[in-house]
Symmetry: C2
Subunit: 370 residues, 2 copies
Amino acid sequence: MQQAPAVVGMRLEDVDTPALVVDLDAFESNLRRLNESVAGRVRVRAHAKTHKCPEIALRQIAAGAVGVCCQKVGEAEAMVEGGVRDVLVTNEIIGARKLERLATLARRARIGVCVDQAANVRELEAAAAKAGATLEVYLELEVGMRRCGVAPGAPAVALARTIAASPHLRFAGMHAYHGRAQHIRSHEERRAVIANAAAAVRTTRAMLDEAGVACPIVTGAGSGTFMFEVELGAWDEIQPGSYVFMDWDYARNEWAPPLPRFDHSLFVLATVQSRPDDRIAIVDAGLKASSVDSGMPGVWERPGLAYTHASDEHGWLEAGPGSKVPALGEKVLLVPGHCDPTVNLYDWYVCVRGGAVEALWPITARGALA
Amino acid sequence: MQQAPAVVGMRLEDVDTPALVVDLDAFESNLRRLNESVAGRVRVRAHAKTHKCPEIALRQIAAGAVGVCCQKVGEAEAMVEGGVRDVLVTNEIIGARKLERLATLARRARIGVCVDQAANVRELEAAAAKAGATLEVYLELEVGMRRCGVAPGAPAVALARTIAASPHLRFAGMHAYHGRAQHIRSHEERRAVIANAAAAVRTTRAMLDEAGVACPIVTGAGSGTFMFEVELGAWDEIQPGSYVFMDWDYARNEWAPPLPRFDHSLFVLATVQSRPDDRIAIVDAGLKASSVDSGMPGVWERPGLAYTHASDEHGWLEAGPGSKVPALGEKVLLVPGHCDPTVNLYDWYVCVRGGAVEALWPITARGALA
């Protein structure tokens, strides 16, 4: 773990760079806005893959979430270690070592996991039995993403029966998430994709009812679509993650009601380290400081200035007509192109309010790959 | 720091995934091949930004390197902490806190740094004086990359004089590196770009001689071009980094003598976690496990199988005609698209020889952003 680039009480402009900065006012307003938007209609189970930080998870729970989601066993371990008591791993867990860790964790907290194959159900049952624990098991329903998941209808019902028949597993319901839908630019197209997913969910739930298999919860949805899931009425629980931070890529989505507006609350603070000419400033934050998988970062409150190119440790800021590039040593805030993999590059959130550092939160699940 | 995904003695197929695997035979052969290729012609100062690991730096030095390069003060600290006594930061260091750390480090090891502005020379002098240390200072020469660097000729000479006149700085020479050239696909185009850089180096060195400013070392060059620098005769020292591992993007370069062949020695071990249909396998290594900034990873020794798409925690393996996708639970080796940012996602190298884990090396400069 690297040393934190700041101390509490320091002014933002004195923070060492690159640093991952959270604007606490914007962050807290995002927490409130999500919960207000869906209150009384669905449960919120916030996705911790975005932030990898129990400090944030506990604040999401305080704001109304029932618990968190994770993608990796190591993330779930970090959350339980940090005081979270209800974690759903929205992923298939394969391999003896991981299954053992997952089942052991279920002795300390309520742990859910997804499956899409009967063979994996048997492995989960064996691991839970060995650990003397009970796992909450969700079938993952394939709703159009062509990633993981069992086909809707009869295959899903067969899998649910296998889960329900396993003494150390509890059939907890269905995980139905369409990841690709989150970044479809058109509002209407996004809604249409989720409507298709809802049809698959409804058909399968009806068949489960008919088969006498109780389906307690349908869970799914991300920050780019969750109000469609809520309005379509086929989900009991939503799993948004990025809403806490909002990244530059989400800002490219067409965004309209019923989706509430969220604010950018996550930034990379960078310093100008070279000025090759009067149109270009080189900053000390490249692709090891802000992930470029979903495009370059945005430049915050510097009209006419664009981050046009990244190398490993450097970024190019270029000035458009009529705008000026910052001076050598000047600091700028960047809005990451994609928040999740950017967070995964840092050990600390530098939490700022009113221009001063209020807290340092360790990103304890950073690098929790397995 | 995350737990290591393996223990020494374990079989490769039992290593937990995703894991960053080094094939020690290929790695050691790369070390030898580099040093044999340039022996007696230039010094090698291997770039540690690639591997971020003192265990590897010490092996590079044992194989003949005079020391290492870093891009960040935090990387240099990790190298000195790990026993490396000669480190050149091939970058401009801006900001009071970093300058203080750099100067303090120079009390414990030989520390070089680059500059491209006189104002920064004055800051370095003040920091070195305060720490009671001497810094080796190189002017960074702009040789076509339009990133950092002072213009060749008179501006470079003026900067060299400023450095040489600073009592706590030693003018150590010129850093002349063309990063973009490394990935130009055509062998001849790469050679031509480096020939241009060599002309800028020669002109400036002649002007320094004329001005009576001794230029002890010209340093630069990367894994994709270094033999051109050697043959052009304008460099005294080369800085290759990726040669230890070789990534999938380098494998796309046209590669011919005088450049020696290097082997892929770095892999991401991944497990099939879902099989949506008989043409697709989903693995547990997405873009948080293998950086996609330079394209998708390659699939190792699985003809007909391609890694076509990554989401944060998942990868899509697709089978071409006549080939089969691996089964659920099967493990595959991926060759990262770009080694440097991939290494930066992990805390451990799992070092393998003859199919068994021989060592675990901590990546102590992982996340050393500042």
